[in-house]
């Protein structure tokens, strides 16, 4: 039986929830508002009313060419995700469906690499990039982003594949499916929700990654995260412009996140409920 909740308590909870949500969301909201102000209005103190000026956006595009880092962000996040899937799907498949005594250990070891502070390997990786000519290249950064997110991708896919009951695969085998048929007609369609949320989460992680993108790029391969960082020092006093650039950087991922909420929630709570 559902617990009976009085209307007054319900209203109280609703108000409290909206308040908390607004407090959390406020910095982003204020960034968007500021980006729509003129520079004078932006610097003149706290004001929630924008002046609806698109001047800052125009400046960001004309002076700094927003589209280059934007395209870099798209290429890096999609590229690293595709690359990660190509490696992680077979890996997760093998771990989920023909586990060995050491499967758990390998999974834990992969996850443990995420616990290491990134800065600990900064120098060796920086030197490798420098010596191999990968510095400030899209290919180098794509591989780097793929590698740092790979443990999470493997873990997530492994968890999803594990949810697929073995009897269904056995049924397919009895029905005459070859390994290829089994993968194409039974496993993949059943795992698609899992693969989709893994893809979404990985795109977001890659899009927002700021440590390596800042360290390993200068201009050519710099995505939006690096672009914002580099923007803050010369333009630090121009709040409206800074806000416009930030808004442009977060908007694509925010919109994508909005449309894929359902998948994302499933992705972030994976394994919690069957």
């Amino acid at each position: 039986m559902a617990r009976a909740v009085s209307t007054r308590i319900k209203i109280g909870y609703t108000v409290a929830a909206w308040t908390v949500a607004l407090i959390i969301f406020f910095p982003i909201l204020y960034t968007v508002i500021t980006s729509l102000k003129t520079e004078q209005a932006a610097i003149s103190g706290f004001d929630l009313w924008p002046s609806f000026s698109l001047e800052s956006y125009r400046d960001v595009q004309s002076q700094y060419n927003y589209f280059k880092p934007f395209m870099n962000s798209v290429i890096l996040s999609l590229g690293s995700t595709a690359l990660a899937l190509a490696v992680a799907i077979p890996a997760a498949w093998a771990m989920a469906f023909s586990p060995t005594k050491h499967t758990k250990d390998i999974l834990m070891w992969m996850l443990s690499t995420k616990m290491m502070p990134a800065v600990a390997v900064l120098v060796p990786i920086y030197l490798i990039f420098l010596r191999t000519g990968l510095m400030d290249t899209r290919i180098g950064l794509t591989v780097m982003l793929m590698l740092i997110n790979l443990p999470i991708v493997v873990w997530m896919l492994y968890t999803y594949f594990r949810e697929i009951p073995g009897e269904i695969l056995e049924a397919a085998r009895m029905d005459g499916a070859t390994l290829k048929d089994e993968i194409i007609h039974v496993l993949t369609p059943m795992a698609i929700p899992g693969i989709a949320s893994t893809v979404l989460l990985n795109i977001i992680l890659a899009w927002n990654e700021a440590f390596w993108t800042i360290q390993l790029t200068t201009t050519n391969a710099a995505p939006l995260s690096a672009f914002i960082a580099s923007f803050s020092s010369p333009q630090g006093l121009f709040w409206a412009k800074l806000s416009a650039a930030s808004t442009l950087a977060i908007a694509p991922i925010l919109i994508m996140g909005w449309f894929s909420q359902k998948q994302l929630v499933r992705g972030l709570t994976f394994g919690a409920v069957k």
Partner: protein
Amino acid sequence: MGSITLKQVRKAFGDIEVIPGVDLEINEGEFVVFVGPSGCGKSTLLRLIAGLEDVSSGQIIIDGQDVTSAAPAKRKLAMVFQSYALYPHMSVGKNIAFPLKMAKMPEEERQKRVNHAAGILNLTDYLDRKPGQLSGGQRQRVAIGRAIVREPAAFLFDEPLSNLDAALRVNMRVEISELHKKLATTMVYVTHDQVEAMTMADKIVVLRAGRVEQIGSPLELYHSPANRFVGGFIGSPNMNFLEGPAAEAFGAHAIGVRPEHFLMSKTEGQLPGTVGVAEHLGSDTFLHIDLDDGTHIIARAAGEFPISHGDRIWLTPEEGRVYRFDKEGLAIT
């Protein structure tokens, strides 16, 4: 089509031997039930026949062909799983057609066979639904439909009814038995429920700890159990066992008497006792009786039997209905 022979089939998982070596002959068209307590290896034996597990040693022969190392699909068998194992992303029609698609059968022929199977199983109206939209019984029928369309040499059932509620289970039991009559194809059926075994089987294989305890028709097992285990396992409620003087009177280490084979009297008889619980079902009365020597007995009286808790009662086993067992538990004939 449909004879299965097992020759010294042995299966071990690592150091643990689950099936020490089974010889079995299943004839064409037979309904064979593997029955035994959980963990007795009955499902493993079925999976060995299916090819889902590899035998450790021994031979499996289907229709004269050695299939010991053949892939599951090459054995011409169809299997119905306990969890139904339907493909959740496919419609009922696609589920049933899947084995035909894998066999690369032309679309037209496929459709014909699916419609035919759906007709037999009353699924015609559900062909476009997804398995998630069906009830347990309907899902089970889809799983059976998927097995039928292949026209296999034999059907394998792995506890197919254990996820259904009691009433539905009785219905499906009858449906599967009727299906067997209609198709006349070999069926191998695994269950832990001796009622299912007794009602459906032509031949029952009683297993314990991977060993075959006895093979026979339901009534053979009922009337002449080879040992105490089979005697106790077949029949409901279970056979009563008496040791000591009561057994010695029959020249045995232990005797077994089924609940339905006691003559009951309120005044005289061989075994005096006190009634504990009396279960009045109308058609039968089950009496839980503590004999004076301490043995607990369940006895069945046909119809209504006016007796209640604490009453004295005397039991006498019916003549010729006493099973005698030696020290090792083997039947004395």
